[in-house]
């Protein structure tokens, strides 16, 4: 994991001031603006005599107040608005919202619409995972500051990533008119559904993508990652028959089993001073981890046979569970899964009788969780007598992972303290990127400072 150049201090978009000068004997490590993550965050670590006193993942992405912006709006308006929380995973926001409302209103969607919703999610997973694996994360393993710099020596690798990303974006665009903030998801179904031939046109690109995704799994399995093993508490959805996207129960590595709308029975959020994000923990105060590593561990038996086979060939199943650096392998396996599943959905597609079924709102609680590319995304709305949202709570995956990231930073930091400052800081920033944090999402959410006492 060598990379030549660390970010220079005081570059174009600085974070906020990280407080007073270190006390005598303290060492401080700071990354004031984390790069190759979505959104704006920082890392701050304070160390004395080789002991980590404090590890903070700061999130200075400006607050945008989405939970208030949706008050007084109709369910369909909410679906459009919450997409804007994140340009990388807008479909995830649309999916958690639409399922919450449909569950609350007793709407039974057409099975073909259900399949198209899964296909839409496949498209988002493919573009988001390809973006992270190739453009944001692989440069850490291959020793470059960016995918563009990496392309000078590894052009075929970058082109493969871009080709995969494009397939994901094409799927989203066919269903939702555009790949970022697609427009067609409505309560009851879609505003418009594709004809069979429009989906079949994706088939050749998906056939090619199967091979590209297999090569991706093989490539990342050949990377060298630090030996950093721990036993995280993992949380994801788990479905009786499917790999979890839109549906399933909330399960954990220590036996939790909840309906997808009951996240708040077991978890809660708290606010910390240095962050514009709220951090989540279990009600017992325990830290947990979401995302590809959690899903592969808790629902790996539901992977598409092609993805399951590729995972077995890597021999990394246990490493994925215990070492966050290997999340890149989990992401690659899921990329293959999403491509394979997308192809099957397209082959089986019959257009629904109507793009959407009629529905009417009911007052009360509307809550659901789906699996965003970065992990479980919980939405909870209170709907009033007029069918408008009266209150909302949105819990994105990155704010749930934030405490786990800080815990891992504190655990990992002692290994790098003997390295030169810039090198140590870089290693810590790489650890954070392994989580694929999406800071835009969590702000209501990232800047790296390490301080040594």
């Amino acid at each position: 994991m060598d990379r030549p150049d660390a970010p220079p201090p005081g570059a174009g978009m600085p974070g906020p001031d990280r407080g007073p000068e270190p006390a005598a004997g303290e060492r401080r490590f700071t990354v004031s603006y984390l790069t190759r993550v979505e959104g704006e965050g920082s890392l701050h670590l304070r160390v004395r005599d080789g002991t980590v006193l404090e590890a903070k993942l700061g999130i200075f992405e400006a607050p945008r107040y989405f939970e208030r912006l949706v008050v007084g709006r109709t369910p369909d308006e909410v679906i459009d608005i919450v997409a804007r929380i994140c340009g990388i995973c807008p479909v995830a926001y649309q999916m958690s919202a639409v399922h919450a409302f449909e569950d609350a209103f007793g709407v039974a969607i057409d099975p073909s619409v259900r399949a198209l919703r899964r296909l839409l999610y496949c498209g988002e997973w493919i573009q988001s995972h390809a973006l992270h694996v190739y453009l944001l994360h692989a440069p850490d393993f291959l020793g470059y500051p960016s995918a563009i710099a990496m392309a000078a020596d590894h052009r075929a690798v970058v082109e493969r990533g871009l080709a995969l990303k494009k397939v994901g974006n094409r799927i989203i665009s066919v269903l939702g008119a555009r790949s970022i903030h697609p427009v067609s998801v409505r309560v009851g179904g879609f505003s418009h559904v594709p004809r069979r031939d429009e989906l079949e046109r994706l088939r050749p690109a998906l056939d090619e993508a199967i091979e590209l995704a297999r090569e991706t799994v093989a490539m990342v399995a050949g990377f060298r990652a630090p030996d950093f093993s721990r036993q995280p508490r993992l949380v994801s959805l788990r479905h009786e028959t499917e790999y979890p996207f839109n549906e399933g129960r909330i399960v954990s590595s220590d036996g939790l089993d909840l309906a997808p709308g009951r996240w708040d029975d077991a978890f809660e959020e708290e606010q910390v001073e240095y962050s514009n994000a709220l951090q989540a923990r279990t009600k017992e105060g325990q830290v947990y981890l979401l995302g590809p590593a959690a899903r592969v561990t808790l629902a790996g038996d539901r992977l598409h046979p092609l993805a399951a086979e590729a995972l077995e060939r890597t021999g990394l199943r246990e490493a994925i569970r215990t070492n966050i650096y290997w999340s890149i392998a989990a992401r690659a396996v899921e990329l293959l899964h999403a491509v394979a599943e997308a192809r099957e959905i397209i082959d089986a597609y019959r257009p629904p009788a109507a793009p959407a079924v009629p529905w009417s709102p009911r007052p009360g609680r509307a809550a659901w969780a789906t699996e965003a590319p970065r992990g479980l995304l919980f939405h909870h709305y209170q709907v009033d007598e007029r069918g408008l949202v009266a209150a909302a709570r949105i819990v994105p995956p990155t704010s749930q992972n934030q405490a786990a990231i800080e815990q891992d930073l504190a655990l990992f930091a002692p290994r790098v303290l003997d390295l030169p400052q810039a090198e140590a800081t870089l290693r810590l920033e790489q650890l954070i990127r392994s989580y694929d944090p999406c800071i835009s999402c969590a702000t209501h959410f990232l800047d790296l400072t390490i301080e040594e006492s």
Binding site: R3, A6, A11, G12, M13, P14, P16, R36, G39, E40, F60, A62, P63, R64, Y65, E67, R68, V71, G72, E77, D80, I81, R84, C86, I88, P90, L131, L136, P145, S146, A147, I148, V158, L162, K165, N169, A177, R178, I180, H181, V183, S184, R186, S191, H192, Q271, E273, N276, L278, P355, R365, A367, Y381, D384, R386, L388, A390, A391, A392, S440
Partner: protein, 323 residues
């Protein structure tokens, strides 16, 4: 574009480009990475010196071209944009947040402290300005790409024009014109679906009408748009004033004349609701207030489980949006 006309960019062999963001979802800068077929060619033609979402190599400038995403929403951002403007020969805003304020500008009608308290149990930890505003409210802007997100074709055209040293060819026409050219059925005429196409700047390719729904105005108002006529049509169809106001209260609500429509018809907590519909809005206010203040005591309240913050009325003290 309603914004300043794009000026002819400087003729530079390999322009130094920065891509930065303020309050936003990252979607518009992601559009650059979504140019999958051209990305490596773009990287060869442009020296991308600052793009923290995609690269750990950083630069404080100067930049030949600076692409700015996001609206100005915190005191730090208001300072940073001034310094970035000094470093940029050509500053281009990308997307509805930077160009029009974005969805977060809906808070501009409301009482900011109450908004903060509704989301954060300890609002004093969060620094943000009373209003989320477009970049052009702070510094001169040379060109603006609209949309939520920007149109990928318009971004390609902008980059091409920068290389060729000519003005970008961005059509000034309504979404309706794009609809007609593509032979799409008019959703307003055919199904009575409210559509902002007649008053909205084109550039998306009339995506919403072609996908069976009304345009929601994400490219913002056309200059000289006759919104009075369109709102009149919607109201004559028997819709309530706040229901019509909400149609305009989207991703470009803070851009005139949409801003005036929202202010007059209501539909956003804190926007005035002159001439009717006040009762409905009052009901919404009470609901929102209760939800905001409820906190820990009410298991049905999404806010429950967060330490309760200041339970001030989120709406009563709101701005009228016209200041």
């Amino acid at each position: 574009m309603a914004g300043p006309a794009p000026s002819v960019p400087p003729a530079v062999a390999r322009p130094r480009v920065g891509v930065v963001k303020f309050a936003s979802c990252d979607g518009c800068q992601l559009t650059l990475l979504d140019l999958e077929d051209e990305l490596l060619e773009i990287a060869a033609r442009f020296d991308i010196v600052e793009f923290p979402e995609a690269s750990s190599s950083r630069s404080e400038g100067p930049y030949d071209v600076l692409l700015v995403e996001g609206s100005i929403s915190t005191p730090e951002q208001a300072e940073q944009i001034i310094e970035l403007r000094r470093q940029a020969k050509l500053l281009v805003t990308i997307g509805a947040c930077a160009t029009a304020g974005g969805i977060q500008a809906l808070r501009n009608w409301a009482d900011h402290d109450a908004f903060r308290a509704a989301v954060y149990p300890r609002p004093e930890y969060v620094a943000s300005l009373d209003r989320a505003t477009p970049v052009a409210d702070h510094v001169p802007v040379d060109a603006a790409l609209r949309g939520c997100p920007i149109g990928i074709g318009q971004l390609r055209e902008l980059l091409t024009s920068l290389i060729l040293g000519r003005r970008p060819e961005i059509r000034d026409e309504a979404v309706c014109a794009e609809c007609k050219r593509r032979g799409a059925v008019c959703v307003l005429v055919a199904t009575g679906t409210p559509c902002l196409g007649p008053v909205t700047q084109g550039g998306c390719g009339a995506l919403c009408p072609r996908w069976g729904r009304g345009c929601y105005g994400c490219f913002g108002p056309r200059e000289g748009a006759n919104v009075a006529s369109l709102t009149g049509t919607f109201l004559a169809g028997g819709r309530e004033r706040p229901d019509v106001g909400r149609l305009f209260a989207g991703f470009t609500a803070w851009a005139e004349p949409f801003r005036t429509v929202v202010g007059e018809l209501g539909g956003v907590a804190g926007a005035s609701n002159a001439g009717g519909g006040g009762g409905a809005d009052a009901g919404r206010t009470a609901g929102a207030g209760a939800a905001t203040g409820g906190g820990a005591g009410d298991p049905g309240n999404p806010g429950a489980g967060r330490t309760a913050g200041a339970a001030s009325d989120p709406v009563a003290g709101g701005h009228d949006g016209q200041a």
